[in-house]
Symmetry: C2
Subunit: 174 residues, 2 copies
C-alpha cells in the first residue's frame, strides 16, 4: 500500500517511472514498524561505483531518521544533494539550533534527533551535504518529493543516532 | 529567446526552477551558430569535485554533437546517465550501426557523426555511458527534457569529433 501511495505521489509530481521501477519502489521503515512516522519511499535510478541518483517520497510528516555517512579509511563518505520537487521538506543539520523549528521528532525515539539547524526546502530549492554531516529530514503537512544526487550509496555504512536502527532490517517488504 | 523557450519546456515538464536558475539557463551552441540544429539548453543543479546533476532541454530535432569524455592520467573520464523526462531522445553510441536510424545528422557538419548504434529513450527510460564512449543525441519531433546524473562535469576536457567545436566558444550568450 505504501508503494502504491508513493507511486501516486511520483505521478502527481510529473515524474514518469517505468512499470519495473514502480513495482520496485523501496519502502524503508528502518526496522521500526512505524512507517507513517519514520520511513521513506525510494526509487534508485542509478548507483554505480562513482555516482548515485534517487527519487524520494516522504508522506506527510514522515521522517528520515538522523544519520551520517562516514568516511572510512581512504574512502570519503557519501556527499549528497537534496532537491525538493514538490511539497516542503525540512532538513536538519549540525549547526546553530533553529529557535522555533517547523518539525517535532516522532513520538517514539525522539531522543535520537540531536541536530536542529533547520533548512527549509521548497520546490526548486536544494542543499548539499558534505560527508560525515549528521542530518535528518521531515516532510511538511502535504508530504514531499525529493531528488537526491550523490556519490555511491552504501547504506550499510550509514551510522544512525537511534541504536535500534540497523540497515539489515531496513526494508519493509509488503 | 532560447532561454525563455527552454524555461517553458521545463515548466511544461513539471520541473520547478528557481528564478536564479531560470535566468542562468545555459544556451550552448558549441560555437557553430546553428542553434536550432546543434545545441542544447542546460541547468546545472550541482557540480562538485565528485558529482554532477543537470537538466537538459533539447528543442525538436536539436542535436548534441558527437563527443567523448576521456580518461586523463589517473583521472577517469566522466560517467553519465541520461534519463528521459518528456519527449523522445535518440542516443547514438559506439556499436553495431542501427539499420534505419530515427535521426539524420544536421545538414552542415554531418560527417562528424560517426557512431550509429541507436538507443531510443522515452519518459522514464535511461542509459548509462562509461567514460570514453563516443556519443551524440538528438530529440524527436516534439523535443525532449533529459536529466543527466554524472561524475564531475569538466566540459573543457571533452573531445568533439567536429574539429570546428572548441569549448571556449561553446556558450551562446543572448
Amino acid at each position: 500500500m505504501a508503494r502504491e501511495r508513493a507511486a501516486a505521489a511520483f505521478a502527481e509530481a510529473g515524474i514518469v517511472l517505468t512499470s519495473d521501477e514502480r513495482n520496485a519502489i523501496e519502502v524503508a521503515d528502518f526496522g521500526l514498524s512505524q512507517l507513517d512516522e519514520i520511513g521513506l519511499e525510494i526509487v534508485v535510478y542509478v548507483n554505480t561505483e562513482r555516482v548515485c541518483a534517487k527519487e524520494l517520497v516522504l508522506f506527510p510528516r514522515q521522517t528520515c531518521p538522523e544519520h551520517r555517512h562516514p568516511s572510512v579509511g581512504d574512502s570519503r563518505g557519501k556527499e549528497e544533494t537534496f532537491r525538493c520537487r514538490t511539497g516542503v521538506v525540512y532538513l536538519y543539520v549540525e549547526g546553530e539550533p533553529t529557535a522555533n523549528p517547523a518539525c517535532r521528532p516522532p513520538a517514539s525515539g525522539g531522543e535520537a534527533f540531536t541536530v536542529w539547524h533547520e533548512i527549509e526546502l521548497r520546490p526548486g530549492e536544494q542543499h548539499t551535504l558534505v560527508p560525515d554531516t549528521l542530518h535528518w529530514f521531515q516532510a511538511g503537512d502535504e508530504g514531499a518529493v525529493v531528488s537526491e544526487f550523490s556519490t555511491t550509496s552504501t547504506d550499510e555504512l550509514d551510522i544512525f543516532t537511534d541504536p535500534r536502527i540497523g540497515r539489515a532490517t531496513m526494508i519493509h517488504d509488503e
